[in-house]
Each structure stands twice: as C-alpha cells, then as structure tokens.
Amino acid sequence: MTSPTKAEGPGPSVALDPELAATTEIAVPKKLEGRSPGQLMWQRFKRDRTGMISAGVVIFFFVVSALAPVISKLYGKDPYTLYAQEPEYPFLLDDFAMPSGAFGGVSGDFWFGVQPQLGRDVFTMLLYGIRNSLFMAMVLTLLCVVTGVLIGLVGGYFGGKVDYWLGRVTDFFLSFPNQLFFIAFMPIVTAMFVSPTDETPTYLRVVAIILVMWFLGWMPMARLVRGSVVSLREREFIEAAKVSGASRWRIVRKEILPNVVTPILVQATYTLPSNILTIAFLSFVGVGLVEPTPDWGRMFRIGAEIYEQNPSFLLFSGGALVIFILAFNLLGDSVRDAFDPKTGR
C-alpha cells in the first residue's frame, strides 16, 4: 500500500532515494524538475534487472500467443491435424502409439515433437494452448479487477450500512471452496445452454469458465481496495474536496482512485498468473476446455501420465508454464518494488 503523501509529493521523493539521484544526468547541472510518480516508477523499474528480464519473458509470451496463427502458418502445421494419419508421415508413431523419433519425436518437421497416441504437432498445440490460456486469463483478470475495484470503492467510501453489507457479501463469496465449486458447476453451466444432441461450442465453454471464475475471483481485490479507501477517506485533501463542494463521484474518481492505483496494479499482476494456473487446473481435472481445443492444462495432464516414457512432452508444456508463471510473479514483485521502494520484502 502506498502512502498518498509520498505519491503526491513532487520533488522530495528523489531525495528519498539517493541512488536514483546518483544515476540521473550527471553531465548536465541539476535543474530541479518535477517528475510524475509514473516516471519515478519507470526509472526505478528500469534499474531492476530481474524485473526487466521477466518483463521481457512475459512480453515474449504475449507476442508469441498473439502471433500464433502467423507462426503456425509460417511453420506449416496446425494443432488440429492428426499427422500420424497423413500419408506424408507414415512412421510418426510406433507400435506403442508413442512417437517413434528420439526425445518425443523432435525433428526438423516437428520442433517440439509429436503427441503420443494422436500424433498432433506439439509446438503449435503449445502455441495455441498459451494463446487460449492467456486470452481467458486476461479477460478474467480484467473482469475481476473492475468488479473488485467498484465494490471496494463503494464499500470503502460510503461506509456504514453499505460497507457492512458489501463486506458480508464479499465474505460470503470468499467462503466458497473455489476448486470444488468449479468442478461441480462447470458441467452444469455448460449443460444448461446446450441441446442434448449438439456439442457444447467452445466459446460457450470459455464463457462459462470465465463466468464461474469471475463469480468467485473478485473478492481479494474488493477487500484490498476497500482497505485502502477507508484509510484515505478521512484524509485532509478529501475533506478539502468535500468542503469545496466536489461531488461524490468526482471525489471518488479524481481524489481516491489515483491513490489506490498502485495496489490495484500490483494485485492484478499477481492475479493473472494465478488465473492461468486455475484455468489450467480446470482442464487438468477434465472440466475445462476439451479436445480438440488446444489447452495448456490438458497438455500438462497428458504429459504427467507419460512422463516416464516420453519426458519431452511434459518438459515443453510444463517448462513453458513454469517459466511464464515465474516470470510473471517476478514481474509483479518488481512492479510493486518500483511503485513502493520503501516497503521491504
């Protein structure tokens, strides 16, 4: 949590950080110059090597997943074709339905090998799997942040009965056992909208996953924002705004919100990777996306079943997941540090 005076104060915060003063433009004689908190944050962030590297990794993942169709086109494979059945690749799988080449069938044609049993291309499966997971996690995080911030702001600022009831609702939702709830409700949600003879469309599954997870995912953000807002509510600058006749909406928007941006941003960067993991978990236990939609969690499950015979499958899918989550979490840490250098770890 950041203290508003510090974020507000223009010059002195440089003095708070002597290192920063040392590195900035030495040649030109110092001319005191106001920097916005954003600029300060960026300066601090640039000096954090872990942060920069993990930011690079995260951006790489985002770019790759955004460009998945292009890459797949250039590479000449897609994640749906069963290559073991195509006449061009007659000996892709052996008698045990395992890839016949070394290390999971890695070759010039199949960079990450082929999937056992079905003979699909692991590289494009992974690309599209990441793409689907990231897309879903981003939408979900956005929804959770917006809901959480709204409810937190309203509860924190208005206080009294509103705060009490919103707080109880939040507590109520927090008391659901998340993962059990997902497993129990996913099939019901999908079954509700589909005729018994039609396949559940993929978009519906995606919507259902996002809805169910949104339903149970906004509470931490709401609590965090409420806490910050409560501590801001009685501050002098708010009172001053009130006295000068600013509307409630204006106070919330212009006075309070800018001061809680930091915790929101930090919380969001932690929420996204955890959402990716939860989505992967759903597929892992069989209630998320189903075949043939490429999915990270399901690849992980297949990999876990055959890791002794074919470790490469788990290595590629699991490795990508571990690297991404790690990078994103480190990034979250760095962002927090940059915003709020005084808080020790």
Partner: protein
C-alpha cells in the same frame, strides 16, 4: 461379459506435478526396440474350438497336478478398486468372476487343458448335465461330500434356492439367461419374492425329486445350459447361509478358499477353506495358503511395482487390471519383465454402433464404416498390445472365428478408405455439413478417440457434434431407447464361448428395450429368425447358422462398424509359478498359480 465398465475413479492429483518437472530425464529412441510381437490372431485360435461337454469320469476330482507346483505361501493381489460383488447371484463382471473361481462353486464349471481347450465338467454336479426330451429337460445329480465352509452338505434344495433367489429383487446385477429360459423375459413376476416367503417354482419348471437331483424344464431346447450354469452368477448359495443383501459382503464359500477378512475399499483376505475336498473338484487347486488383496493400487503403480519386482511384489499378481498402457513399452522391451507376462485376447469387440432409428440409410452407415481409421483408434487404446483391427463383429475368442473376414477392407486399409466413403456419401445424397451426434465416454481414451472420429467424419463432410457422457453412466445413457445420439462406441464380449451370447443380446430385434445391449436397435426379421433357429441347435450345428446371421448383420444391415478387438497383457511377480493366460476368463488362470518358493 457385460460391456466393459471402468469402475476406477482416477484420483485427482492436480498440482504437485510442476515440482517434478526438473527430474524428468532424457529418453532414448523409443522405436523398434521390441522384437517381441504382440499376440496375433493365430494365438487366439485356441480360443476358437467349440466347447465339449464332459462326462462323469472327467468331472471327478482331484484336478490334474500342475507340473512343479508347491504348497504354501500367500499370493498378493493388486486391484484398483473393490470387487464389484461377492454374492454369486450378482456376479457378472470379470473381477468378481475371477474371485468366484476361488470361493464359489456352481453346478458345472469350465476345465481348461494346457492348450486352452475348454470342457464343461460337473462341479457340484456329477457331470455336465443329462439332456432329455430333445434338450428341453436337463437333469443334474449332485456329487456326494460337497460342503459349504461350515460343513453343511449341499443338497438339491440349495440348488433350487440358488436359482429362485435370482427371481427376487435382492439380485439385480447378475446374468439372466437361466431365469429367462425357465420363465420368460418377465421372469420376476413368477416369483416376486424369490424363495424367501416360502413359495417355490412349480415342479414343471424346476424340480427336485430327491436331495441329490435337480431337473430343469424348458419350453424349447436349451443346448447351452451347461455353459450358462458354469457362469459365476449361477454358483450355489446354500439356503441356510443366505443373508440376502448382506451376503454380498460375507458370502459362504464352497470352493478352496473362503473370505477371512474384508475391509471395504481397502483389502480382502482369503484363507483355505478346510471343508473343501479336492476329490470332489476336477478344476481347482489349493496350493497357496491364501490370497491378500489390496484394493487400492491403481494400474500405473501395479505395473511399476511388478516391473521392479521387489519384496512382496515378487509374490504378487494382477487380478483383472492390465499393464498400464503408457508402460507397455517398458514391459515388452525388457526381456526379463516380458517373461513375467500373460498376453491374450479379450472377448470384447469395439464397434461404432449406429442408432438405426436415426441413421436409416445403409449407404451412410457404410460410408462411415469405410471412413473410420481403425488403426488410429487402436493407437488411442494402447497401440498393438491394446487391440487389433477388427474385420467383423465376432471376436477371435469365438469358435469358428475367420481372421480373413473383412467385408469393409479395414485390414487392407487400416486408416480408412476415404474415397469409397465419399462416393457412398454422394450416392446417398447427404449434404455437406450434415450434423451427426457422436456420444463418447468422458475418459482419456474416449477423448482421444473422439478427436479421431471427429476428424475422420469431417473429411467426408459431416459436422460431428461430440457429446461427452460421464463414464459411469455411459452405457445407461446410450442404452435408452430414445437416446438423442447417432453414433457411439460400444464394446461387448461373450459370456461363454458361443456366438449365442453375442448375437442374441446385441443384435436380436426381439430384445430391444431400455437398457438392453442392443445399442443399435437392429430389428431384422431374417436375423431374428436365424437366432431363433440357432438357439435350438447343438453348438457344432449352430455355428453355421450363427455365421449366416453374422454375415447378414455385417454386410446387409451394418448396425455397427467393427473397429477393433481388445487385448490384454498382465504382469506377475517372479515367485509366481503356473501363471498362464486362461482362455475361459481371458485373464491370468487363477486355478493353477502357486509360489515357487513359498
């Protein structure tokens, strides 16, 4: 046996895997290491010989000694989950069937020689049965000196009780052949409370003239009766011991072993039944002192333990579970481990059943049959050790199996014949993008096969709607007459080595009902007539009729596309002797096992 049901619920081990990532090492080139070939249809030939009915001499005990057999010791048994049932009347699934071989005894039993030839011998009865009146009446005399575990002598009253209790509501999961033959499809009406309220079947149906004689009266010849009575489901339940529903947890033993301790969901211990007399039994042995079942070990860890062959695993066997498909390669490519396997066919034929109420045009059915890539379907079920491409709907385990029968060219073109399929689709005038609903059981195998089916049928212009069904209720859902699905993969296996136990339940139009295994709803007068005729004939004469019915079904009606025959491969520990594949049970032969060093 009933359609394959996987009762194993895989535990959800969700997270934790990420941590083990760093431990995975490199794998060597996995191809072409195993010179050992999977069992092919030649090996199944032993499963094809017609069963013989043995006389009294062959039915007398004791059973022939197994070469080198020793007495003593305890065999450990690895099972994934509890046995489905222990009450004989409820036993229809093979895990309990194997158990029944050790604990229960029926009127008749299968005897298997070294080459896998099967004979039906008298078990509690003196012989396999005396037919009269052209096979409509069967008379059984009971052996002297057969007792239950408390020393009560088994009489004809107990046999009658065994049959009659199957009419009551206590029994709902077992086979229904004999009851149906005696009293018709609505047999329960004849004796709604079973024998429990003092009522019995009339003597014109089931007669017990004295303590040692039982007479079955049928309204038409029933030449298969001795084989039906050999099913575990008809094993004797002594009248005095019957505790109705509770009997399923604590049955009284007639066979060489009895239940000494049973912890549901955990373990089961069998010990020697001292009342069992080897002289009365021509099939079973009592070599080991007992069996310790652990009913919590999943297939993957069973396989791992048996491959490692350390400590108590040396004395262990797999019961009806097979080698984990992912580890088959590790087993067969290691000669020392491969020596400790039993391999063979299972009686199941996996077929793509068409819902004939929905897909009425035979051309469409044929087109789909041509299009299915059978090879890929086998690959999704463990590769060559899991199954073998099927040409027809009769399994290699049935007598008179013809390995060359292949009307749809599945053996020649294992990945399907798309040109032919497209041609047929054009002739049938099906529009591009017609919807087909394919229902599948939501298991890893079901999901993988769904991808293949969807892919193949999309290539011939169908828009396949794949519907997943919870695997526990899969057969219940597709067994409904008014099910909304067009296609579904089903598996069915024989109850005894006769085509009658395949054609009658699965393709007889007179048996269509909710929950009946006639999943395609085929109702062809010609087939029905052939079935009616064949059922009255001795097995040898009936074979021609069954073959005729088979050809009519496969070629002219095509209610189900043959996809593959399933196979099994089981492991046992290095201290187990006498282990071999049993043609009768299609698992490890439980009657002949012993410990090399007790």
């Amino acid at each position: 046996m009933k359609p394959i049901r996987s009762r194993s619920v895989r535990a959800i081990a969700a997270i934790a895997v990420a941590g083990s990532l760093a431990l995975t090492g490199c794998s060597s080139d996995s191809g072409n290491e195993s010179k050992d070939r999977a069992k092919t249809q030649d090996d199944a030939a032993s499963q094809q010989k017609p069963v013989q009915y043995a006389d009294a001499a062959a039915s007398n005990g004791p059973a022939a000694e197994v070469a080198g057999a020793k007495s003593g010791g305890t065999i450990n048994v690895y099972v994934q989950s509890d046995l489905s049932h222990m009450d004989p009347g409820q036993i229809y699934v093979s895990d309990a069937g194997q158990f029944a071989n050790l604990v229960h005894r029926g009127l008749t039993n299968f005897q298997e020689d070294k080459n896998g030839n099967l004979k039906v011998v008298g078990d509690v009865a003196t012989d396999s049965g005396q037919p009269s009146d052209g096979g409509k009446t069967w008379t059984y005399k009971l052996k002297k000196g057969v007792k239950d575990e408390d020393g009560n002598v088994i009489t004809s009253k107990d046999v009658r009780h065994t049959i009659e209790r199957q009419y009551s509501k206590v029994i709902f999961d077992g086979p229904t052949y004999v009851q149906t033959w005696l009293s018709g499809a609505d047999y329960r009406k004849d004796l709604p409370d079973g024998p429990y309220k003092g009522k019995h079947l009339p003597d014109t149906v089931l007669e017990t003239p004295d303590d040692e004689t039982v007479v079955f009266h049928f309204n038409q010849p029933r030449p298969d009766l001795p084989q039906a009575l050999a099913m575990a489901g008809y094993a004797i339940v002594p009248e005095k011991q019957d505790t109705k529903e509770k009997y399923d947890k604590a049955p009284a033993a007639l066979g060489p072993y009895k239940v000494s301790e049973y912890k549901a969901g955990k373990s089961l211990k069998l010990v020697k039944n001292t009342q069992w007399d080897a002289k009365t039994d021509s099939v079973r042995h009592q070599y080991v002192d007992g069996y310790n079942f652990t009913t919590t070990i999943d297939q993957a860890s069973q396989t791992k333990r048996l491959i490692a062959d350390q400590g108590e695993a040396k004395n262990a066997i797999q019961w009806t579970d097979a080698v984990d498909t992912a580890q088959i390669q590790d087993v067969v490519s290691n000669a020392a481990v491969n020596k400790r396997t039993v391999k063979g066919y299972q009686p199941y034929v996996w077929q793509m059943s068409f819902n004939l109420d929905k897909i009425k045009d035979k051309k469409i059915r044929d087109a789909i049959t041509y299009a299915i890539p059978a090879q890929a379907m086998v690959q999704a079920d463990g590769g060559r050790y899991g199954g073998e491409i099927a040409g027809g709907l009769f399994a290699p385990t049935l007598p008179g199996f013809d390995a060359k029968y292949d009307p749809y060219g599945k053996l020649k073109k294992p990945n399907g014949d798309l040109e032919k399929a497209k041609e047929l689709i054009k002739e049938a005038g099906v529009k591009e993008g017609t919807k087909l609903t394919y229902a599948y059981s939501n298991s890893p195998r079901g999901q993988a096969q769904q991808v293949i089916i969807k892919d193949a049928l999309a290539k011939i212009g169908f828009d396949v709607q794949a519907k997943e069904i919870d695997r526990a209720t899969f057969y219940e859902q597709i067994g409904k007459l008014k099910n909304p699905y067009d296609l579904y993969m089903t598996g069915w296996g024989q109850d005894w080595p006769s085509q009658s136990t395949v054609v009658t339940p699965v393709y007889d139009g007179t048996q269509i009902a909710d929950g009946s295994p006639n999943y395609s709803h085929i109702n062809d007068p010609q087939v029905n007539k052939l079935i009616e005729e064949a059922l009255k004939l001795e097995p040898a004469e009936a074979a021609a009729k069954w073959e005729q019915a088979h050809k009519r079904i496969v070629e002219e009606i095509n209610p189900a596309a043959p996809v593959y025959y399933s196979k099994t491969i089981q492991l046992f520990g290095s201290n187990i002797g006498g282990a071999k594949y049993s043609v009768e049970s299609s698992y490890i032969d439980i009657n002949n096992v012993f410990l090399k060093q007790p």
